[in-house]
Symmetry: C2
Amino acid sequence: MSNIREENKKYFNYRCIHQDKNSKARAGIISTPHGEIETPIFMPVGTHGAIKALTPEQTDSTGSQIILSNTYHLHLTPGSDLIKKAGGLHKFMNWEKPILTDSGGFQVFSLQKKGITEEGAIFKDQKGKDVLLTPETSIQIQQNLGSDIMMAFDECIPYPATEKYTKTSMDRTHRWLDRCIESWTDPRQSLFGIIQGSTYKNLREECAKEVIKRDLPGIAIGGVSVGEGPELMEKVVKMTAPLLPDNKPRYVMGVGNPEDLLMIWEHGIDMSDCIIPTKFARGGTLFTSRGKIRIKHRNYRRDFYPVDKACQCYTCSNFTRSYLKHLFDSNEILGQILATIHNIQFYIDLAKQAREAIMNNSYLDFKAEFLKNYKN
Amino acid sequence: MSNIREENKKYFNYRCIHQDKNSKARAGIISTPHGEIETPIFMPVGTHGAIKALTPEQTDSTGSQIILSNTYHLHLTPGSDLIKKAGGLHKFMNWEKPILTDSGGFQVFSLQKKGITEEGAIFKDQKGKDVLLTPETSIQIQQNLGSDIMMAFDECIPYPATEKYTKTSMDRTHRWLDRCIESWTDPRQSLFGIIQGSTYKNLREECAKEVIKRDLPGIAIGGVSVGEGPELMEKVVKMTAPLLPDNKPRYVMGVGNPEDLLMIWEHGIDMSDCIIPTKFARGGTLFTSRGKIRIKHRNYRRDFYPVDKACQCYTCSNFTRSYLKHLFDSNEILGQILATIHNIQFYIDLAKQAREAIMNNSYLDFKAEFLKNYKN
C-alpha cells in the first residue's frame, strides 16, 4: 500500500485554493488523470454507465465536471470484464472527464440482501441468483471500470441502528478497508475511505481516526441520507467534518436537496452526489431559484417563460414552461431530457455560485440569500 | 383562392435541378419561408410537436431539413390556440426549419372513428369525448400551427376497399378539398392536395385530374401504406406519379422502409415521411447499409464496432454496438436517443446519396448497389 499511495500522488491531489473567512466552506481543485475538478462540486449519478436521459455531450453542456457510476449495477450488467475489454468505463460510455465509482456498499443499505458475513455481502440479483460482493471483488470491479476515484467497500447501515450493531459493523468495515487497500493495484485510480458510525459521536470519531491513519487520497462521510432527516444529517456532518485533514478532498455520499448541499458546503465538504436532480426531472419536478415546481400543474399551460429566468441551460434558453408541460402531458421522452438538463445544470450552477461566494468570503450571505428565495 | 395562390407563389416554389437520364428520379429544391429543402427528402415525424427522444438540436444534427407534425394530436393536446399564442409551432418546439402538418385525414384511417359525414369525421378522444374534424377546422388548426406546408383534409381509406366505396369517398374528398381551399387564408403557408383512389387506376386518374386542376402548390399521393403491400404500393405510385405536373413537389405519404423510398424516388417522388426510423429505433431495431439489426441480440455484447461503420452520425462516431446493447438491456433512455439519432441520419443520408446519384445520372445503379448489400 505505501508504494501505491506514493505512486498515486503523481496522479491525484487536492489543493485548497481559498478558505472562506466566515465559515468552514472552502474552494479547491482536485487533479485527476481525467482533468481537474473545481470544488465544491456536485456529481450527477449515472448508475448504469449513463446519466439517465442524457448524452455525454448534454451532460457536459451542464458544466458537470465529474460523474458517479455504480459498481454493483455495472457488475450485474454488462459486467466489468466486458467494460475492461471495451477500454474502461470512460471509453465505453464516451465520457472523458473524471468518474467516481461507488463500491456497492450503499446497495448493502438500499437493496435486498441475503446476509453480511466477515467475507462480504450477499445480494439477490433480479433473477434471484446470489451475488457476493467482497472488498476484493469490489476493488477488482472498480479497477476493471478504470474510475478515477474508487470507494472502499463498506456497510452502509440504515437509521436508526443500535450503538452495538453500529460498532460491530464499523469494526468489520475497518477490516474490509484494509482488504480494499491490499487489493488496490492501479496508482492512476484513487481509493477513498468511508467514515461510518451512524449518529454516534464516539463511533464517528473512532471511525475517522481509523480511516485517517490509513492516509488514503480522499475521505468520505457515509451513512447519511439513510432516513435520519436533515437535522441529524447536519449533526453528523458537523461532528465529523472537523476531524478530517485539510489536505484531502472531503465527500459526503448521497446528498441531497439544494438545502442539504448548502449545509454540507458550509461545513467544508468538497464533493457530493445524489439521484435527486435526475430522478425528480423524469417525474416532472424542476428546480428553480424560487423553489421546486411541478411542471404538469395547469398553471404552466400558458406560461411562456423559461423554467427559471436566471438559468442559462439549453432548456431555459430554448423552451417555455408551456412546452415542457405539453411534453410531459404527452409522455414525450423529450420532456424528461429537457427537465434533466435543467435540473443538473441547476445543481452545477449552485456549486459554481457557492464557489464564487467562498472566493469572496461571502458564503454565509450567499446561503442566506438563496434560502430566502427558495421556497419549498 | 386564386388570389391566395398567387400570393403564395412569393413564399413557396419548387425547382427541378436535375432529371436522372435513366429513370424518372429527380433532384430539386423546395423554397419555403423557413428555408430551402433539397429533394428527394425524407421527413422525420414529430407527432406531438417533438421528434420522439430527440432535442431539435439533435434532429438538426442528423441533417433533417423538414419535419412532419400531426394536426389531430396537437389539436387534442395542447390545442392549436395555445400554440398560436406561443408564436406558432416553430417557436413552441424551437425548430427553425420547415414543418409540414398532416390534416388529420390519416387518423380517419388509423384511429377509431365514430363516423364520416359530408361535414367531416368524428373521432373519440382518449377520454371518450367526440372530436369533429372538418376541412375548415383542419385548415384552421394548421393555420394556427403556422406550418410551411398544410395538407388538405381527406379520407384515407384502408386496403382493400370496394370501387364503389372508394369512388364515394373520393368524390367527398374533392368537395372537402374545395372547402379546404376556401379556408386557406395565409399565403406563407402552402396547401397541398392529396390524391386518393385506392388501387383503382381509373379512380387515381380521375382524382389526379381533379386535384391538378385546382393548381395547388404541391400534390401528394395518399392512401398508400395502408395494408396493400409493397407490390401494390409500387403499382399505385407507378400509375399516379406520371400524371403529376413537373413543376410541383410530389409527396408520397407515410412511406416507408428504405426499399420503399428507393422505389418512390425512382418514380420521381420528392418527399415522404414515416414513423419507421423513430419507432424502430425505440424498439432497438437499427438500420445499416447491410440491413436492419436487433441491437439487443447477444451477438452484439462484445461488438466494439459502431452500429454502421459507414455512418457519420453522433451515435456511430462515439459509441459501440456493445454500449448500445447494454443501454437497451438496462432500459436506459439514452439507448432510445442514440438509436433514434442513428436511424434518422440513416434515412437522411439515404436521401442525400440518392440525390447525388441522380445528379450523376446513376440513380438506378445506386439503387441496385444499395439493395445488393441491404439484407432483410
